[in-house]
Each structure stands twice: as C-alpha cells, then as structure tokens.
C-alpha cells in the first residue's frame, strides 16, 4: 500500500466533507435564508422580489386560520408533552424495578412508534368513529345513551389528535427515560431506601433531576413532534371540522401549494422556525451541559 503523507489525507477529509458542506450551505443555510427573504416580498403564486416589508407578517397574524393553528399547537404541546412524559416516566420507573417479561412489554409499548403517523391517524379515526367506534362498543354493552363524537365536534376534535399522538409517542419516551434510569447509581437508590424517602418524593426531587439529560432528549423529541404535526391531522380530521384542528405545518403546506400564497406561507414558516429555535437551542445547551 502506497503511503500518503498526513497532509494529503487531511486534504481528502476536506474533500469528503465538501459535498455535505455544499448541501448544508445550499439547503439548510441558503434555503432557509431565501425562504425568510421571500417572506418580506409580495410573492404570491411564484416568488418575486418586490419588497413588502412586514405586510405578509401582518396578514399572517390577522389570519383567523393561522391564529387557530397556533392556538392548536400550543394546546397540543401543553397537553401532549406533560401527559406523554408522565406515562413514559411511570412505565419506565415500573419496568426499572425489575419485572418479568421486560422485553415483551417494551416491544409492545414501543411498536406504535414504528407505525407511520398516517396509519396512526387512520386507526384512531376508526376507533373514535361516532357510529362504529368505541362509543358503539359502550352502547352495545348496555350504555344505550353513550356517545363520543369528539372527532366531529369542532370544540373537541383537537383532543382526539392529542390522544392518537400520546399513543404514538409514549413508548418512545419510555425507552429514552428507561435508558436514563438504568444509568442511575445504585448507591443513590440505597440512600433513598435508608432515608425512607417516600417514592413519589424520591422520583420527583432526586431521580428526575439526576436523569436530566434523558428528560431533555425526550423533551426535544416531543417538541419536534409538536412542530412537525401534520400527517396525523391530515389522516384523522383533514384539519376539520372546518378549521378546528388546523396546525401550522398544515397551514404552511396548504398556502404554499394549494392556495399559492408563497409569501404568506414563507412568513408562517419563518415564524415557526424562530419558535423552534427559541425552544430547541436552550434545550440543546441544557442537554450538553448535563452530559
């Protein structure tokens, strides 16, 4: 084998990185900056470069659909994140005590995550169907007046999407937190036992803070689910009834392609990106510090 000098190898490493650097620069940096630029123009069907100041943003925030989308995302986050975290943590803590059939249980809890959000949405749409779904099971069991029409009820439909998403993500959060719990020092558990600290207190004040990195990972993953929320809405309610379950991602895609308001969609996308960075950057810093 022909021996190369280190500098020629380093040059090769740089050459290897060139295509990736090109993609990062053109898509992740260039593309995003370009989209942000478009949000300050009058672009409608096709992008143009007539400066419009903040017009698109003013239109965006006075748009009822965008307001509903943002509220839905906030509501979704406020319910989905704590409940999924609670379920995931509880199951992880129980499994961590050492139970039989751990592998089988873990396989069952995590399988929803291997299903697509389209499938998740369609299955839950069927389960929550007002005439044939769970309500029908209750009626045929003797509760003749049972009804469960949340999925077609404009005030409640968003909660059906939250239920489906919790089903999809709880197992994932459980696995991430279980990995964290497995890393907790045995001496800590011994100390808790000797001190006789009640279980809930020990978990809340001692164990949870000591697995901060895993909790941060779980929070990042759940936040990504929140901002990317799209497929499950499309499959379950199509954003309806009316615009009741609209979400920012759906607003952006619809305005970009069907309604051909590229400027407005770009303003929405840029707003969403700023929101994501405002949440993700502190979490990332927290996570790396805990490590």
């Amino acid at each position: 084998m022909f021996v190369r000098s280190p500098s020629s190898s380093r040059l090769q490493a740089a050459l290897t990185l060139a295509p990736v650097a090109f993609i990062v620069l053109s898509v992740y940096v260039g593309g995003v900056l370009w989209a942000a630029g478009i949000s300050f123009t009058r672009s409608s069907m096709l992008p143009n470069y007539r400066f419009a100041g903040l017009t698109q943003y003013i239109n965006l925030f006075s748009n009822a659909r965008w307001q509903v989308s943002l509220c839905n995302m906030a509501l979704f986050a406020a319910i989905f994140i704590p409940i999924t975290l609670l379920i995931g943590y509880s199951i992880a803590a129980m499994i961590n005590r050492g139970v039989r059939g751990e592998n089988a249980l873990r396989t069952i809890y995590l399988y929803p995550f291997a299903m697509s959000f389209i499938v998740t949405g369609l299955v839950w749409r069927w389960l929550l169907d007002p005439s044939f779904g769970i309500a029908d099971v209750a009626r045929k069991l003797g509760f003749e007046n049972a009804s469960f029409d949340w999925i077609v009820n404009a005030d409640m439909a968003i909660f059906t999407i939250i239920i489906a998403a919790i089903w999809h993500s709880s197992g994932l959060v459980m696995v991430v937190l279980l990995a964290g719990l497995r890393g907790v020092d045995d001496d800590l558990w011994k100390a808790i036992r000797i001190e006789g600290i009640p279980a809930w207190k020990a978990h809340l004040y001692i164990i949870m803070p000591s697995i901060g990195a895993s909790i941060a990972t779980a929070l990042v993953l759940m936040s990504l689910t929140v901002v990317r929320l799209f497929d499950v809405v499309v499959a379950m309610t199509g954003g309806g009834p009316g615009i009741a379950t609209d979400v920012p991602a759906k607003f952006i895609i619809d305005h970009m392609f069907e309604r051909q308001q590229v400027g407005l969609a770009s303003a929405a996308a840029t707003t969403l990106l700023l929101l994501v960075l405002a949440v993700a950057v502190p979490l990332l810093i927290l996570k790396n510090r805990r490590k």
């Binding site: 050492g98 499938v119 990042v220 497929d231």
Partner: protein, 297 residues
C-alpha cells in the same frame, strides 16, 4: 424477595411489598393492552364483512375471514383517479426507501469519519450547522427544496424524492456515526497510520467492519422513518412516485358513497407491514437506536 436490582422504596410491612408488586404488574399489563387495542382493531376489522362491522362491535372477533377486502386494497382500490390499489405505492415505497437508506448511511458514515479522525478546518462549524439543521421543521425547508429540485430537474421524479430524503436524514445519520467513531480509541487510528494505511484504507478495512452494529441501528431507524414518510413523498413524488402512505391516505379520503371500513383497515395494515416486520424482527437494534437518542421523529 426479588433480585438485587429492585429499586423499590422502603417497605413498611410484609403485606405492602407483594401488594405493590401486584399493582405494578396490573398497571403494566393494562397499559400494554391499551397500547395493543389499535393493532387488534385494525386486524379484526380488516377481516370482517361490512355486514359484520355494522352488526357486531369494534372489538368482536370476525366470524368469517374474508380476504377479498385485502385483495381490493392491494389491487383495485381507488387512489384518486386511478384504481390500481396499493401495489403501485408499495413498489414506489421500495424504490424510494432502499436507495435513500443506502445513500444516507454511506454519506453519514463517510462524513462522520471525516469529522472525527481528521482535523479539518471549519469541521466543527459544519457539524454544528448540521445539528441545528436537524431541528428545522420540514415545512421550512420544503419550499427551498422544491426550488432546488426543480432547478436541477429532479422535481416530481424518483431521484428528487431520494435526494430530499438523504438531505433530511444526513444530520441524524452523521451524528450517529460521529458519536460512534468518537468512542473508538485514537491509538487504533495512530497504529494504522504508522502501518501506512491511507485515508480510505483505514475507513474501509478497519473502521467499516467495526461499524456493523451502528450500520444496523441507523439502517433500521431510517428504513422505518423513510417508509413511514408522508410529506416528502406527497410534495416531491408527484403522481407517478407517490409512496404507500400517500396512496393509503388517498384511498381512505377519496371514497365516494359508502365507506368500506374493512378495505380501509386492510390497506392501513398493508402499509404498516414492512415497518412492523422490521420492528418485530429487529426490535433490539431499534430500541438501541432510540435509547441512544438517535431519533429525528
């Protein structure tokens, strides 16, 4: 009592211990059943006739096992204007997933290698940019990518869909490999250098054979994510390269007249078969990947 790794809090009396143990098992089993209900309902509904769906309940077992709805979902259900069933989407999903996963892993492994053993200038800047990019919502990148793929003539083509998948997968796959390579002792690298192994020689002869577990983890996660993708296929695949998820959604939402729930559920199951097979046969790797935080979601 139970094994040494039992982390139960202090027990006050002899009765409390078995009781709390039973409660734990009860809760675990109930949650497991709740987690399984949707899969169970999907399977039984897919076998029932419409008559049975109307007369029985969601949870009742099918009396007859009908395969004709499965056949219809696969072969002749309408996905918009065409009525050729899911088989078209199945082929498309395969044509999209296999090259996307192979390319994403190849690119991620090579990039991770260049980032971890070689001090290239600006490598850290590049890596940080990629990491942050991995957090961008897809919707923000979709429009720039539409413009880029149409400029280079890849919009609405198979190559275009694959290109976008690779771009989206690159940050997470690179992160996986870079972290994995960071755990390999630097002395191994130095020894190989002393023995005269060049840049690619070290990668292919030493590093790659050591990376089989990481390749498996990244491969399984990416197969699942890309097969399950909806938005990339919807926007970049056009009509000709619509993946299975897009066709499935069309089948369910474009039905006129009476909805055939059994066909819908058969179609839903058919779309899930590949990721479920991958998951149930290699769950161990899947869990490992997820637990190491290798998920983009």
């Amino acid at each position: 009592m139970s094994p040494a790794n039992t982390h139960a809090p202090v027990r006050r009396n002899a009765l409390a211990a078995p009781l709390s143990r039973m409660l734990v098992y009860l809760l675990l089993i109930v949650t497991a059943i709740v987690a399984l209900v949707p899969l169970y309902v999907m399977i039984v509904t897919a076998f029932k006739s419409m008559e049975e769906i109307r007369s029985g309940t969601l949870l009742s077992l099918p009396h007859s096992f009908g395969f004709e709805h499965w056949w219809k979902a696969w072969n002749s259900a309408c996905t918009g204007l065409r009525c050729e069933g899911l088989k078209v989407g199945f082929v498309n999903s395969f044509l999209i997933t296999v090259p996307s996963v192979v390319l994403a892993i190849a690119a991620g492994a090579v990039t991770g290698y260049a980032l971890s053993f070689w001090r290239v200038r600006f490598a850290n800047v590049l890596f940080t940019a990629m990491l942050i990019g991995g957090f961008f919502p897809y919707q923000v990148l979709i429009y720039p990518l539409v413009r880029i793929t149409s400029t280079i003539g890849l919009f609405n083509s198979l190559a275009g869909v694959i290109f976008v998948h690779v771009v989206f997968a690159l940050p997470v796959v690179t992160l996986l490999f870079r972290n994995y390579f960071a755990s390999i002792p630097i002395d191994l690298f130095k020894a190989a250098r002393v023995d005269g192994a060049g840049y690619w020689r070290f990668f292919f002869s030493i590093l790659l054979p050591m990376s089989v577990p990481m390749i498996a983890v990244a491969g399984i996660l990416q197969v699942t994510f890309i097969w399950n993708d909806y938005i990339v296929g919807l926007v970049f695949g056009g009509i000709n390269y619509a993946p299975m998820t897009v066709q499935l959604n069309n089948i369910v939402h474009s039905t006129y007249g009476e909805r055939e729930y059994n066909v819908e559920m058969a179609a839903t199951l058919l779309t899930s078969i590949i990721p479920l097979l991958v998951y149930f046969t290699s769950g161990r790797w899947f869990v490992r990947g997820v637990a190491s935080g290798a998920v983009k979601g």
